[in-house]
């Protein structure tokens, strides 16, 4: 979980950045299934773009404070519009999973439209718990390697 709340809540207790972060790290099969469900009764969706591309990742040097480019990360992104609701949705995930990005864009638009909000909120809660638990388990293993060095 990398999401810290920085803005107004857009669904439940989540601000827009938190919701997008949870969706981007959601389990792919689960988010795709949710998007299918959300599309029901949502209106026609037009795909503006659905492609892979490169995101340059800058990094801050700790020694002299110089920002430099670490390299490029392949990301999948999707942008859609829902003309009947005058809304757009956007999704982007690290990797090549175009369907994941598309599902994220659909859910992003649905959040803006407050369409199926309770279903989406339930999903966000479940995925957040899953992501936090996954990190917590990893970090308990990491903590087991904490070392107290002694010198003689």
């Amino acid at each position: 979980m990398d999401e810290v709340r920085t803005g107004d809540a857009v669904i439940g207790q989540y601000d827009h950045g938190q919701a997008l972060g949870i969706l981007a790290s959601a389990r792919p099969a689960a988010i795709k299934a949710l998007a299918e469900r959300v599309l029901d009764g949502f209106g026609d969706v037009t795909v503006i773009s659905n492609r892979t591309g490169l995101a340059m990742l800058p990094y801050q040097d700790t020694v002299k404070g110089t920002a430099f480019h670490l390299g490029e990360v392949l990301v999948a992104e999707a942008q859609i519009e829902v003309p009947t609701r005058d809304l757009e949705g956007y999704g982007a995930v690290v990797g090549r999973d175009l369907e994941h990005a598309m599902a994220m864009a659909v859910i992003d638009a649905a959040i803006a439209a407050r369409h199926q909000a309770s279903v989406i909120l339930e999903f966000l809660d479940a995925e957040r718990r899953h992501q936090e638990e996954s990190d917590r388990q990893r970090l308990t293993l990491v903590e087991a390697t904490r070392v107290q060095m002694e010198t003689f």
Binding site: G17, L20, L57, H69, G71, V73, L139, V142
Partner: protein, 363 residues
């Protein structure tokens, strides 16, 4: 150097490629998945050198190249050129790093403590030959600690700056799209620090180690100690069209700060994609070494950055096996002419001596 096109041999060339590929056999999704899952450090090394983060593609490149790293780097760099750049992510800073390993060889008690993380540093290096006899080698499980480690760790250098141990340099505030970018601009010397660190991030691991090791052994004034070494996952934070910043996922990164005992506790830095400790330690050492007033010749920025670029160096090396018949024939002709020229006066001299001898012997 001059080149000419060659003709002929199309069938042999096609058959040679087929022979290479048939030796590798069918490349399946399962094989690629196996490479990705079983050799994450090799995949990491490749992504760092290719300067492109996508583990599936890196595993595919390795499978397709049969494990030839330079071929795999070339495949990934070539693939990269087919993709548009669609975003600049937000700069990664220390508080962003989901840290799984953080150690210091210079300071025993560091704020946040020392976390060994996944490492073979203190283990016996024994080949598990039993596996070849059919006995699986299954690692023992790690007993989890009661509490998780902190997800992020403070920057050690911030503590040192606060203590006045090392110089505090002001952080440069540059918009991501204005950061000098080697993929769009040539490497010109003296290099901006941003180009130097980017070039080291995508440098060849072996080349970086060779030059770093030379410096460590004494070809330079730097006596390195690892100030901090960190393995982590960094969020890739993108901007939504409505302006919201969000994390699109994480990528594995490694970084090293090296402190030199020789002069005013100077520090060097390096970071790269993937978990590749040797590369960042060697590269951070080269960062300090190349910043000295009169660096050793193999520790100058130009020497380091030109000779650790994996595609250019490997490409230049292997191009020597491609047809050079005309240039070589030309050199051979010149050699023969020189040889003939050298031999000509000698022959004349011999002839003169013989003539003189005959005249002397004449009755």
């Amino acid at each position: 150097m001059a080149y000419v096109a060659t003709r002929g041999g199309e069938q042999a060339i096609e058959h040679a490629e087929r022979l290479f590929r048939s030796d590798l056999g069918t490349i399946s999704r399962d094989r690629v998945d196996a490479v990705r899952k079983t050799m994450p450090y090799l995949v990491d090394r490749l992504m760092g050198e290719a300067s492109l983060y996508e583990p599936d593609l890196a595993a595919l490149a390795l499978a397709q190249a049969g494990g030839d790293l330079y071929e795999a780097v070339l495949l990934l760099r070539a693939y990269r050129t087919t993709q548009p750049r669609i975003a600049f992510a937000q700069p990664v800073t220390q508080p962003d790093l989901f840290t799984v390993r953080r150690i210091s060889a210079a300071f025993k008690d560091i704020p946040g403590g020392q976390i060994l993380g996944p490492t073979l540093d203190y283990s016996h290096r024994l080949l598990q030959v039993g596996v070849l006899m059919g006995e699986d080698f299954t690692p023992e499980a790690v007993p989890p600690a009661a509490q998780p480690a902190p997800a992020t760790q403070p920057s050690l250098i911030d503590w040192q700056k606060a203590q006045g141990i090392v110089l505090d340099h002001p952080v440069e505030t540059v918009a991501p799209e204005d950061i000098p970018d080697l993929t769009r601009e040539p490497l010109l010397f003296p290099v901006p620090r941003a180009h130097k660190l980017q070039s080291l991030a995508r440098a060849d691991t072996g080349g970086t180690l060779a030059l770093g090791y030379a410096t460590m052994r004494g070809y330079g004034d730097v006596h390195p100690t690892v100030n901090e070494l960190r393995l982590a996952e960094a969020p890739v934070r993108l901007r939504h069209p409505r302006g919201t910043i969000f994390s699109a996922g994480r990528v594995r990164v490694s970084q090293a700060e090296i402190i030199s005992k020789s002069k005013n506790l100077e520090l060097g830095f390096s970071a790269t994609f993937g978990w590749n400790e040797i590369k960042v330690i060697a590269a951070a050492t080269l960062d300090i070494a190349s910043s000295q007033p009169n660096p050793a010749s193999a520790a100058t920025e130009e020497f380091i950055l030109y000779h650790t670029e994996p595609v250019e160096s490997s490409g230049f090396c292997i191009h020597f096996k491609l047809p050079h018949y005309v240039t070589f024939q030309s050199a051979l002709d010149a050699y023969r002419r020189v040889k003939a020229d050298r031999e000509a006066p000698a022959s004349t001299a011999v002839e003169k001596e013989l003539t003189q001898a005959l005249q002397d012997d004449a009755p």
